[in-house]
Amino acid sequence: MQNPYLPYPVRIDDIRIATEDKSLKTFKFVFLDPDDEDRFAFRAGQFAELSIPGVGEIPIGIASSPVEKGFVTFTVFRSGVVTTHLHNMKIGDIMGIRGPLGNSYPWDLLAGKNILIVGGGFAFTTLRSSIVYMLDPANRPKFGDIDVVYGARTPGMLLYKDELVAWEKRSDINMHLTIDAPAEGWQYNVGFTPPITEQKAPQGDENTYAIVCGPPVMIKFTLPVLEKLGYAHDHIIMSLENRMKCGFGMCGRCGIGKELVCKDGPVFTLDQINHTPREY
């Protein structure tokens, strides 16, 4: 019988500082047993438990994309006991990854549709995974227009800057990067994410879905904007966070009504969220 508590052993292959304040680092992991990579087959939007023996586990969205092979990456904010420990680990250290966990963005439903992605701050990890997945030459024809609004406080707080710049230059994705206040050398938008979304995002319709991921204050002000743009509640897709332990629906703490964020989510439509107690 498969043991869902047992992590796959991995080696830290690379560590990159992801933001100028050094509060986020991107960890690249390689599976010690190459067969585990197949067992870990995932879809963009899923998460995993990063498992440090003797310290604990944390649920983190998968930042690498299913189309990237040979490794998995996670961008982690230093915040609690486990993430602080992880930030102090070094290349070559051995730890574990348990997953993939949760549902994903609804890729079957999204096929053939226009996609608007709205991200803020460091909640851009599974969105990056999704963008890389959609831009893969084998997948790009499956989607209509792709628009991305991504905001951070300063240019140095944007994640994956090299990729953002590369995507800016492409014609098959419309990037709308923004920072809170003007900064030297910044050539894109200035302003909070919600108003930039209002100015730049395409109108909502039956064939357009919005995926929104960001801090609560960004979500709060972005949802009315999307409504104004004509996005129906079942066309607004969000990813929730809650405290988790098991990650597969047994330990009971991440419930929002009868749904469990770890197993039935973390991805829900706004319509689904509206029908459940807001305990997240």
């Binding site: 508590y5 992590p7 440090i52 003797g54 009868k258």
Partner: protein, 353 residues
Amino acid sequence: MKLVSIDKKDWEKGIERLRPRYRLFGPIREKTYHAFQRLDEGQLPDLAFANTRLSPKDIVFPQSKAILECSLDETKADHHIMKSIAGDDTPQLVLGIRPCDASALTLLDLNFNTDEVKDPYWIQAREKTTFFGLACDTPQSTCFCTSVGGGPFDEKGLDVLLVDADDRYLAKILTEKGAAAMQAAGWQDESDANALLERRRGAAEERIRSVVHTDRLKDIDILRLHGAPFWEDISFACINCGTCTYLCPTCWCFDIQDEVHQKTACRMKNWDSCMYPLFTHHTSGHNPRGTKLQRLRQRFMHKLKYFVDKHDAGIMCVGCGRCVHSCPVNIDIRHICNLMNQYSTEDACEAQG
């Protein structure tokens, strides 16, 4: 289903025959209450009890269980690679579990043994354990098993049902596992006292006076129940002590924690409680159930509404009455269940003023 008569004179002899084959558990008197314990050499279960203070769920779902371990010593080849701690598969036999507590195990199965994912520690414990239930002739004033799909002679979750018939026990063999244990004990006298058993069942069921109503729970909207005004009143007295969740045979929430001893790391699975703020506390400081009202509501909504909607197996409560009995501020699940069940649209309008 075979009915066997066990002369009480043969009871001890049978248990002695079981001892080398099984790790035995049974109710033992401790000061003012009974508790399920491992039976030591020569020790017999004390079956003169109403029910134990704690449910025997810990025999298959231990309060604290080491599940994974690894070495942190970097000179070892497999350091930092977690391995499952192989469970001990010695068969165990629980003597005298009450039918309410046994039926609770079948509700826990819905959480730990699903089509999608299985908890291997739960599965192993369930498989190695045989349950001899003791039919309940003396239900307490707080018992309400008969209105939640059970009964004092209920057979769900049991391998053998024992019925105390004065100078003998009638043993109704319900499963292969039960038959094997009966054979091992040498209890083989077939009986045709079915009528007596049924009479006793009827009499015991009549002694249960307490009733809850659950028929409307499924039809009432989750958000309306969640927003009902009575949570304020009910939670006012709650001190979030968590007693209810620890006593409850159907509460399954757990925590996962790592422990380190010298160069060995061990991952533990521990009981947890939705009554505690840390249960849902985010690292950021945000807590989606930060108030006691939210926590108390979670417990009862989970048992009486979310579970009902999700599993179609009735409420997540077997009517053992322990929480009613032991709550230090007299919060009564029967009262709450009835309030929820009779909650109507008119109440909601009143609440909104």
